[in-house]
Amino acid sequence: MKTLAVVITTPPYSHLTITALTYVEAALVAGINVIGVFFYQDGVMHANENISIASDEYQAIEHWQRLQKQYQLPLHICITAAEKRGIACDAIDNDKINKAFTVSGLGELVELTTKASRLVQF
């Protein structure tokens, strides 16, 4: 079975994220088992519930939410990286975090890496 784990390090307002999203969606459409997406560094900004991108700009966060819903794609954010960027704060379940994302530690990255046949970083 082809299994894939993806690491995202670019924020939602970076156009580089569109490439990553297109890649992950293409993998899902091709029937690849994407076992999880791990958001690290500025990638965690995707989980900030308060981000407001102009409506005529690319809506990266909505796109991740759609993939999560449609394919039960696990989206993990790194809590340490999130706290540094004003997202995760103290409570694990709070209104600052977009519900499509799971707050995880770097241990989750170990889990994904050891399970996946391929690891791709964007």
Binding site: Y13, S14, H15, L16, I18, T22, A54, D56, E57, Y58
Partner: protein, 131 residues
């Protein structure tokens, strides 16, 4: 394309702000952020000049189409420069040459300058921001 003498006679007074664009247009938001600054200065009737150097010169190249990447193509707004009285647009010739780019821009009245002319044009501004 244009000599320093012409430039000097065209705008003898010192402009308040020069913005140096140094990044390619689509992968980062630097170009858009610089454009927003330029337009607000123009809206407040402050004289602003745009400089394109390094990978920043890619922002000026013709036949680009950001919509192919699924993004809103802010480069189209460059056509509003005339309306906003942003008239001094300078591009670094060596930056074009090293990237094998022709002087084929998507807006008019871009002045292609040598490094020395580019530096002298920068010098005619009171403040400089670089994106």
């Amino acid at each position: 394309m244009t000599s320093i003498e012409q430039n000097s006679s065209a705008s003898p007074q010192e402009s308040v702000l020069a913005i140096i664009n140094s990044k390619a247009p689509f992968s980062s938001s630097h170009g858009k952020d610089a454009l927003d600054v330029a337009l607000i200065f123009a809206a407040f009737e402050q004289k602003v000049s745009l400089f394109f150097q390094g990978d920043g010169v890619y922002q000026l190249m013709d036949k680009q189409d950001g919509s192919l990447l699924g993004i809103k193509d802010y480069l189209k707004t460059f056509s509003a420069f005339e309306f906003y009285d942003i008239e001094d647009i300078y591009v670094c010739q060596p930056s074009l040459a090293s990237r094998q780019l022709d002087e084929d821009f998507h807006i008019d009245d871009v002045q292609v300058l040598s490094s020395i002319e580019f530096g002298l044009a920068l010098n005619r501004h009171q403040h400089v921001l670089r994106f």
